[in-house]
Each structure stands twice: as C-alpha cells, then as structure tokens.
C-alpha cells in the first residue's frame, strides 16, 4: 500500500522536477550553445561538470517519470495483485536499464 503511495508521489515529484530541467535543457541547447552538436563541441561541454550533472539529473528524472507513467497506465489492466507487482517490477527494471544505458552513452563524451 505504501509502495503504491510512494511511487505515486514520486511520479508527481519527478513531473515537477522535469519541468524546469527540460526548460533549462532547451534554453541551453538552443540559445546558449546555439544548437552546435558536433562531437568535439558536445564533448567539451559535457566535460564541464555542471552540464554533465544537469544531463544526469535530467536523464534520471525524465526516465523515472516516464516509467512511472507507463506503470500507471499498465496498472489499469492489472487483474490481480501479482500482475500489479510484476508490472511495477518490470517498470523499475526498465528504468534502471534505460538510466544505465544513458550513463554509458554519456561516458562516450568524456
């Protein structure tokens, strides 16, 4: 019961967090960096600690929100507690996998 509540709250909190993060990301990419996405340029940016930290937090927050949202939709079709638990675990596993993949992808720029 409390797990449901915690995940539901986390979905709300990640939504609130994602909003300023996505806005900051768009502003940085389009206006501050002028949309320059050559590998060397992006690599130099990512090597700045602040941009890397922002990207990691954005990745975590958006991925968590996405998979919690997917979980919420799939739960509509859960016919039993066992299937509801399975859906939650699958979504958490997908989140961990996507987040890990994103981190590995970011290391290519370091």
């Amino acid at each position: 019961m409390l797990t449901d509540l915690r995940l539901w709250r986390l979905q709300r909190h990640t939504a609130l967090l994602a909003l300023p993060l996505v806005v900051a990301h768009v502003i940085l990419q389009l206006w501050v960096f002028g949309g320059d996405n050559r590998f060397d340029v992006v690599s130099a940016r990512v090597k700045l600690g602040m941009i890397l930290a922002l990207d990691v937090v954005l990745l975590a927050v958006v991925s968590a929100h996405a998979f919690l949202g997917l979980r919420s939709m799939l739960q509509d079709y859960a016919k039993s507690s066992a299937s509801a638990i399975l859906i939650t675990r699958a979504c958490v596993a997908l989140f961990v996998a996507i987040f890990a993949y994103g981190l590995v992808a970011l290391t290519a720029f370091l």
Partner: protein, 237 residues
Amino acid sequence: MPAAPTRITLQVARSDSSRESTFEVPVPSAHSRVLDALLYVREHLDPSLGFRYSCRAGMCGSCALVVNGKEALACQTAIGTLATDHVRVQPLRALPVLRDVMCDMGPFFDSLKRAGAAMKPLEPDRATIRTMPPAEPRRAAIERQNGCITCAGCFSACEWSATRPGYLGPAAMNRVLMLALDERDAEGRKRLLTVAHENGALRCHALGNCSQVCPVDIPLREGMQKLKGLLATEDLA
C-alpha cells in the same frame, strides 16, 4: 421544462430474459416521474416487474437506476426533462441484479466498510457529536462533500467500480475525505491510508462521471482531487 409526451414507450431490462420488456405508459403531467411510469406498469400491466423504491422524495436513494443511459433516481427524474417519448430503464452497473432493475447493494456497502467509512468520535463519552457551526472553517472544508444518500449512482457510473472488482468507488472515498477533514473524528488523517492504494484514490482518472450523476450534486471529482492533494502532502508513514 420541455413539453412532456402524453404517452411514452417504457423499455425495461428484465432479469429473467435477455430481451427487454416494452410498455406503453400514459404520462399525465410533465412532472410525472420515471418511478410513476414503473408503478403504472406494476399496477396495470405487469405485476412481476421488480424495482425498489421507498421515500419518493430523493432522500433514501433506493430507486437509483439507469435512465436512458445515465444513472438517476427514478423518483426525481421528470419524464418531461428527458425530451423523448422513449424511456429505457436499466439496473445500476457494477452491482449484481436481484430482479429486473433492482440490484443487490451489497458490493457498494462493502466498499464503505472496506474504506472504514464510519466515524470514530474523538469524544466517545459525549452523548451526541459536537455540532460544527456553519462559520467554522473545518465545516466549510467538508460542507460541499456532505449529504450522500448512498444511492450507488456514482458507483455505477464510475468506470473503475464497474470494471475493477475491489475498487472502492467515489462514495466511499468521499466519505473518507470528509472524515479525514473532520476534527471530531479520532482517526483523522490516518484514514487516508485506507484509500492510498491502487484500488483507491491513486487509480481514479478523474473523468468525473461520478459528479455528473450524483443526485444530490456532491462534487465528487473535486473531492477526489482534494483527497489526492492530501495524499500528496500528508505524512502517512
């Protein structure tokens, strides 16, 4: 109110047949109710027709059913307001049918029990519960959620009650909201735990069917949003 037809075709779901029965029923006045038409059928055309009613004043909730696809109290639905001479009456959804358009209210009252929707007085030794004056802010917070007649119309209209066994439904959660905000209740905010799960407030999609059919106009959807607000902020651990 538009002019009522002088005669209607009343189509009623029957539990002993897959076909619905059709009756021609006179409508003496624009203010005649669907319940009047059902009573006419039982008295003049088919004494076996099963339906439930009691107060005929919209207070007891006994005569809730589905009229032309929408939950309503038969005793409060004037035929003139339906703007048609074809009236289809079906039993409430999400509840087992006992006979024709009369349902077993058991699952609905079970939802109230599961939600623990009964007050536990903070001062059990008092002879009566303290009256909350109208100007009291606490009362203002719950006033609009008050007055449920437990007709189960919202339970029938809610897409989750009708399809997800175990879902608490709008009436039970509205009651929990009222009690959680009522300072005379000993359980207080702890009550929110009874709805903080996937068969409770977290599953509500806020479509608002419950508010649309409530015969006493309780803003159930808004109440659910208020409930979610409490769940988001209160420390329930």
